[in-house]
């Protein structure tokens, strides 16, 4: 049994091992143990600060669900990042190929190409995509530094200075923090999770923590019947 404090270190080693493989041999995946999730929303908040998302855009919201009737009642939490589907509906509908799957299976958005038609948002069955309409937390006249600071999404600086600068006007989504994983660091939601409920790594590596975590227990994939083949696996 791996202790919680060791888990991040082990997964980081898994990640570095995976990065040595060719990109098309990696199968990046995320597993979320919903028994462990305490619904603290730390992952949501950390993601927002990592990717500097504007109001109403959360790459990883957490659904709260009440199960049963009083007094036999319990609450379950379901964090929802982008499912990084193997068969993503958002990719085929994009009229300009601004959204596509990388060799390692992560679906990304090319902010330079995206025309902001929002068809991908309509097509995503998980509601995992958002539209950056150019809103700021502090209103349209006084913008705080953190609102116009450049995020490092996709490994490039993207500053939301005005509504002519991407990613304003574009679709946005979770990308498993590829700017971090390419540097050998785990996604921010994984490192922030208080109860270590989130696993990340290369599913094709049988020695990785994620492969072990999803192999031994009950798992499900969200809306699996749609045939999208999500790469986010929930452990129950």
């Amino acid at each position: 049994m791996v202790k919680n404090e060791e888990l991040i270190d082990i997964m980081t080693e898994d990640l570095k091992r995976a990065l040595k493989k060719p990109a098309d041999k990696r199968v990046w995946a995320m597993a979320i143990d919903i028994k462990k999730c305490i619904g603290c929303h730390a992952c949501t908040t950390a993601c927002m600060s990592e990717n500097l998302t504007p109001p109403h855009i959360q790459y990883r919201p957490v659904r709260e669900e009440e199960i049963g009737t009083f007094p036999n009642i319990t609450v379950k939490f379901l964090p929802r990042p982008c499912m990084q589907c193997e068969n993503p509906p958002c990719v085929t509908v994009c009229p300009v190929k601004a959204t596509y799957k990388r060799e390692d299976g992560i679906t990304v958005i090319d902010y330079n190409k995206c025309i902001g038609c929002r068809y991908c948002i309509v097509a995503c069955p998980y509601g995992a995509r958002s539209s950056d309409s150019g809103n700021y937390y502090t209103g349209k006249f006084k913008k705080e530094t953190y609102e116009v600071e450049a995020s490092e999404e996709y490994g490039k600086p993207w500053a939301r200075k005005n509504h002519f600068s991407s990613p304003i006007g574009n679709a946005r989504k979770c990308h498993f923090c590829i700017h971090r994983i390419e540097k050998g660091t785990l996604p921010r939601c994984v490192t922030t999770c208080l109860s270590n409920a989130t696993y990340f790594g290369d599913l094709s590596d049988p020695d990785s923590q994620i492969a072990k975590a999803v192999a031994k227990v009950n798992t499900f994939k969200y809306k699996e019947l749609l045939g999208t083949k999500p790469r986010v696996i929930y452990i129950t």
Binding site: V93, V96, K97, D132
Partner: protein, 384 residues
């Protein structure tokens, strides 16, 4: 005036019309459309200066709002004009011919105005070039741009032919077929989205064509009724194709709306609860008030004024139902986090409404102005 063999209005006529408009002799509808265009310009400037997010009420939960529904409404109206033009020439040539240029003309400019409304809804209009540089043939939206370009080109060629006093049945057929492909393709933009129960299904592309025919018939009826407003004998001689088209349009739209509603009510999968949530509205407003009532009235009231009122009513209710169709797809969210309501509501902002008014007014103004300068006179002389 003749230009490239086209019979066009004289410069003096245009100058005289412009002078008349400035002197207050343009007519109420024309001045209202000018006010509408100014409202549209104001909305466009607000969108450009302040940005989309600051002035519209669309969001990640309701990504497509009233601007998209206006686009759908207007381009379907344009398709309807193409259908009426085709069936008019095929089955009622003598009675219809004198309206051919008018219906073609309004169909083209309605399509352009609809495209304008769509452009204002795009997050990054400046990147439209990627439709050419980075095409995605798997996307129905990309095909829409292709077919739309072909459709508008064919319509323009047809209009030029009309102004040259020639008419080609081959071109008529080509435009008709391309219109079917283009706007069933538009239906497929929505119909292929399995995740949105309110859209999904093979009926939607066909449904769009039926609704297009209905709105086209209503608009053509207004044009014909207004043209013979002062001559009842002439009106009764020419009105038959338009009245028949309107009745057929209402009938097929009722049929399609009924079966779409019923299929939705029977479905049990996630998201289909939207049909039950909307049931009362869909039944009483969309089916009874918007379609059945006007259909019945057409059998009792046949005067010019009645036909104009019925057709305007059909156009107005169809605009409302089109908006409800587009926005209805987002009413039940696909993911319900604790910050997301069970039923998502959307009320357009005043800027969004001004875009709608601007687009409708632009098409109205161009048609009335063309009529006043005598753009359609040659056509009436040739065929009438």
């Amino acid at each position: 005036m003749t230009l490239l063999n086209m019979n066009l209005p004289d410069i003096t006529d245009i100058k005289k019309t412009v002078n008349d408009i400035f002197k207050g002799k343009g007519g109420v509808v024309l001045y209202l459309s000018v006010i509408g265009i100014l409202m549209g310009i104001y909305a466009f400037l607000r969108l450009v200066i302040e940005g989309h997010g600051a002035v519209t009420n669309t969001s990640s939960l309701v990504p497509w709002g009233v601007q998209i529904s206006t686009y759908v409404y207007m381009v379907l109206l344009s398709t309807g004009c193409t259908f009426i033009n085709f069936f008019g020439y095929m089955f009622y040539r003598k009675q219809y011919e004198m309206f051919g240029t008018r219906i073609l003309f309004i169909g083209i400019f309605i399509a352009f105005a609809g495209m304008g409304a769509l452009a204002t809804e795009l997050g990054r209009m400046d990147k439209m070039i990627y439709f050419l540089l980075s095409p995605q043939p798997k996307s129905p939206m990309w095909w829409m741009s292709v077919w739309y370009s072909i459709y508008v080109t064919l319509k323009l060629i047809e209009l030029v032919n009309h102004k040259r006093g020639t008419h080609s049945d081959k071109l008529l057929w080509a435009t008709f077929i391309v219109a079917i492909i283009t706007y069933s393709n538009l239906g497929s933009v929505f119909g292929i989205i399995e995740q949105r129960a309110y859209y999904f299904g093979s009926l939607l592309p066909i449904y769009f064509l039926m609704l297009g025919f209905l709105t086209g018939a209503a608009l053509a009826t207004i044009i014909a009724s207004a043209h013979f407003y002062k001559s009842d004998t002439e009106f009764q001689k020419h009105v038959q194709p338009f009245r028949n088209s309107l009745r057929i349009g209402l009938g097929i739209a009722m049929l399609a709306t009924f079966w779409r509603l019923l299929a939705g009510l029977y479905a049990q999968s996630e998201g289909y609860e939207i049909f039950q949530i909307n049931f009362m509205y869909s039944f009483f407003f969309e089916l009874i008030l918007s379609l059945a009532v006007p259909l019945i009235i057409t059998y009792f009231s046949t005067c010019q004024r009645c036909m104009i009122v019925i057709s305007l009513f059909v156009l107005a209710t169809q605009f409302k139902t089109r908006t409800d169709l587009i926005v209805g797809g987002f009413k039940v969210p696909v993911f319900k986090a604790y910050t997301i309501p069970d039923i998502v509501s959307y009320i357009p902002s005043h800027v969004e409404m001004f875009v709608v008014i601007g687009a409708l007014s632009a098409a109205t103004f161009i048609y009335i102005f063309a009529d006043k300068i005598g753009f359609f006179k040659g056509e009436e002389h040739i065929h009438g």
